[in-house]
Subunit: 343 residues, 2 copies
């Protein structure tokens, strides 16, 4: 049961002092240590599979090389793709991402923050599952903090957010450009900036195009509710020809309902989804056109920014960076049905 080798073990084996080991292994031996001893140290380290104890390193250097991530479960689960991209970006820069579930409430958030600060994280990133307003906890005042997919109303830190207004406007515009004028919007019922903006952006596009306002159908975040609402609406008079879903699970419900009604997609009804963090819309049949939330770029650039700040040591200007949501045109959208005008 050999315990992990320490610098002392390496020094003993190489017949030098701990300082020498440290200098050699950290590349600061150049003009100082004789070539022979350097080789001895390197060989001893190799032989013992020596790796410095990161805990001791942290204590010594007052840097943990760790970034804390605060996150929680939202309308469509955890923001998996943002967390994944954050983790990899941090890792590539030599940082560990410590992910903490705040449960979405201030009490657990407080515990999570304490736990991160106890472990001396160098920075904290907040990764929100849905775009919301978010005030960083007081306890983080001294810690570099960055917000991803949420906005600080007090503008005290850098935040990164998708252009939700633009995204929903794009979604509506896809349908408008194809001639649709009777368009519905299946929305989440959460009282968030996200839902607000998704409705507002799409509605603005309708107004700008001079078509009637979109019919807002509030489905909650449940797939089955989206199904029920879609079915009900499609059974009624003057059926919709276009439908926007604020996230992918709603699109599954809508597609299923329309399909059961015997409608052809996109022959009778065109469907567009927003978000698609779970990669569901893209896999459906027909594949559902999506104005996708750019989870990966947001997370990558966010973490890169945070690390740059860590290296420079400066405090960046608080600002909001907005990311465009790319349009993925797919088979679920088509021209407005010609017989539609006859009904």
């Amino acid at each position: 049961m050999p315990r992990r080798a320490t610098a002392q073990d390496v020094a003993d084996l190489a017949g030098v002092s701990r300082s020498t080991v440290s200098l050699v292994l950290n590349g600061r031996a150049d003009g100082n240590i004789s070539a022979t001893k350097q080789l001895q140290v390197i060989e001893a380290a190799r032989q013992l599979s020596y790796r410095p104890n990161a805990v001791a390193l942290s204590l010594r250097s007052q840097r943990s090389w760790a970034i804390g991530a605060l996150t929680w479960r939202g309308a469509s689960g955890f923001p998996e793709s943002m967390l994944h991209a954050s983790w990899h970006t941090a890792k590539a820069a030599g940082y560990l991402l410590m992910i903490m579930d705040t449960n979405g409430d201030r009490k657990h958030e407080g515990l999570a923050v304490s736990s991160l600060l106890d472990r001396q994280v160098d920075a904290v990133v907040v990764v929100a599952p849905d775009l919301v307003e978010y005030r960083p906890p007081e306890a983080l005042a001294q810690t570099p903090t960055l917000l991803i997919n949420c906005l600080d109303p007090d503008r005290t830190v850098v935040s990164i957010a998708p252009d939700e207004l633009g995204a929903s406007a794009s979604a509506a515009q896809i349908l408008i450009d194809l001639g649709h004028s009777r368009i519905g919007l299946l929305a989440d019922d959460a009282a968030t900036v996200q839902t607000e903006q998704r409705i507002e952006g799409a509605q603005a596009a309708a107004v700008a195009a001079g078509i009637p306002p979109l019919e807002i159908m509030v489905a909650g975040h449940e797939l089955a509710a989206a199904y029920a609402l879609t079915q009900e609406r499609l059974a009624g008079p003057r059926p919709l020809t276009g439908l926007i879903c604020t996230h992918e699970r709603l699109a599954v419900g809508a597609l299923l309902a329309a399909t059961r009604q015997g409608l052809d997609i996109p022959g009778d009804l065109s469907i567009v989804s927003l978000e698609d963090g779970e990669h569901l819309a893209s896999e459906l049949v027909p594949a559902v056109a999506t104005v996708r939330r750019p989870d990966q770029p947001m997370a990558e650039q966010g973490i890169a920014l945070l690390i740059k700040q860590l290296i420079s040591g400066g405090r960046p200007e608080p600002q909001q960076l907005t990311f465009v949501c790319p349009v993925d045109l797919r088979a679920s959208v088509g021209p407005v049905p010609t017989d539609h005008f006859r009904r």
Copy 2:
């Protein structure tokens, strides 16, 4: 910019030594420190919001109070619910779960393991997205290790796995009990124990019931492939009356295809899903009956076991713990259609 208070700061404010602070704050002051001083220390700590530096604590105690988790992306993403339950169980016991993405390959796994060992994790848990055979890396030989949703062929550590044979047998039995005898199985194409066992278990149930062998349809893990296969098969002669899907995304595809074909579920076709880690099957319309993988209990009991081992310090007998997969009967299954025999 007040830096975090240290024990020395508390000692200074309370007018005592660091040792006294430590004893009082760790509840070992009883017969040793006067009541007055104890109060002074507690008050000083409160005033400075003192919390011990976890890094220093780790170095001193040779325990990091952290458990490393190795995981990767599988057929249906990361094993989110297992990770979530693991994190919370660890947290409740005072441990931090450090989640590392191994990318599913040995090279990145090696880097992840090194990184965890550098940080002196007290134990490691491997959380596999799909049931596979898994040999713990050599480097973990000295570290308490537990496998969740994977099996060590060499039986060197404790592993926790769902009863996949039983689960798929149950799925088939649901249909058999309802009178079905023409049953298909939409399967993942991965060459894993999981796929093997899911096919084998269902097939064994068919044999035991004396019905024809299940028709195995290999769909890969793509929803769209499940759609295509289902559509093709349903268009053919002697249509299936029952369908088992090895995971929830395949069930979405199958349901969509059957619905587009104008079939009634379960009137014309009964559908059962396995796994449902993403909670999709349960949300569909009709809700799809599922033999669910018990992600939460597996993770909770796994972590609890690992922590018990950490506390006792003993090495547990390597063993495989098998968890039963509960049956969630839902609207997607019904008796075999009566007109079926006439075709």
